[in-house]
């Protein structure tokens, strides 16, 4: 049975402020620059979710896209879209950088999505930068 990798792309908008309580004000400004603005700022994030598995001979699918869409919408987009990331429990103690956000999304989907194997989460904060997390594994080329 052939194994394929399916990637789906979604969008959400959220605000955040990068600030570490353990650093002085000067150190926070030096580290995070504009992102340390106390009122926060926002992004349109694009998230790509890659799942893999054997292609089911009866359906021709790795998993039903409706199931993936429903899970990502309910568990990730509903949770993050039009929110201030700093107010969410995940970011009570960690800074909501795109690195940390990418890892959190991976953890949520790893826990909630069972219909295929979660390979990777790729998160674009802007068109110029993106982050990928595969549960700590090396990325497939």
């Amino acid at each position: 049975m052939p194994k394929a990798y399916l990637t789906r792309r979604y969008m959400f908008s959220a605000s955040h402020r990068l600030h570490c309580d353990e650093m002085s004000d000067g150190e926070n400004r030096a580290t995070y620059g504009k992102c340390n603005n106390s009122h926060g700022h926002g992004h349109n994030y694009f998230v790509e979710v890659t799942v893999s598995g054997q292609v089911d001979a009866r359906t021709g699918m790795v998993c039903n896209l409706v199931d993936l869409d429903d899970c990502v919408r309910a568990e990730v987009l509903e949770h993050l879209d039009h929110e201030n990331l700093n107010t969410l429990p995940e970011f009570a103690d960690i800074v909501p950088t795109t690195e940390n956000l990418c890892e959190e999304i991976y953890k949520i989907l790893k826990r909630e999505f069972r219909a295929a194997h979660l390979e990777k989460v790729r998160l674009e904060e802007t068109m110029m930068n993106s982050f990928e997390y595969a549960g700590g594994a090396e990325l497939r080329r």
């Binding site: 049975m1 052939p2 194994k3 394929a4 990798y5 399916l6 990637t7 789906r8 792309r9 979604y10 890659t50 292609v55 009866r58 359906t59 021709g60 699918m61 790795v62 039903n64 896209l65 409706v66 497939r140 080329r141």
Partner: protein
């Protein structure tokens, strides 16, 4: 080892239907894609080959040869076609993006002797793509 990727586009129609399923089951599993009159997409295909760079030419393989193979084996067969009715692989198999990627891999693997096929990536839309590396 260098990886070379060539991109091309094709437009095709398809529908999803498994004759072993009841009508109700087909609608439940495949949703809108089960419409028997079909619907279409602009597909984008990215084919990645890998190999050592030839010291004389500086090429992994001649891009023109890759383009010719893609035109002959894939685009001539799939562009502006109804996949279920006009592409033999989909007489029996459902033309999902997964199966389109696998069919393209199988067609190219036999014809690409100049470099090793690494990955076939098929975008059904900018929001959905499938990668196939020949894993069975």
């Amino acid at each position: 080892m260098v990886y070379l990727t060539r991109k091309c586009e094709f437009a095709a129609s398809h529908h999803y239907h498994n004759p072993e399923f009841s009508a109700e089951e087909n609608r439940r599993v495949f949703g809108k894609c089960n419409n028997p009159n079909g619907h279409g997409h602009n597909y984008t295909l990215e084919v990645t080959v890998k190999g050592d760079v030839d010291p004389r030419t500086g090429f992994v393989m001649d891009l023109k040869d890759l383009k010719d193979v893609l035109n002959r084996e894939i685009l001539d067969a799939m562009d502006h076609r109804y996949l279920n009715k006009e592409v033999p692989e989909f007489a029996q198999q459902i033309p999902t993006t997964e199966n389109v990627a696998i069919a393209i891999w199988n067609r190219l693997e036999q014809k690409l002797n100049m470099a090793k096929l690494h990955r076939v990536r098929v975008f059904e839309s900018p929001e959905l793509f499938v990668d196939y590396y020949g894993e069975r």
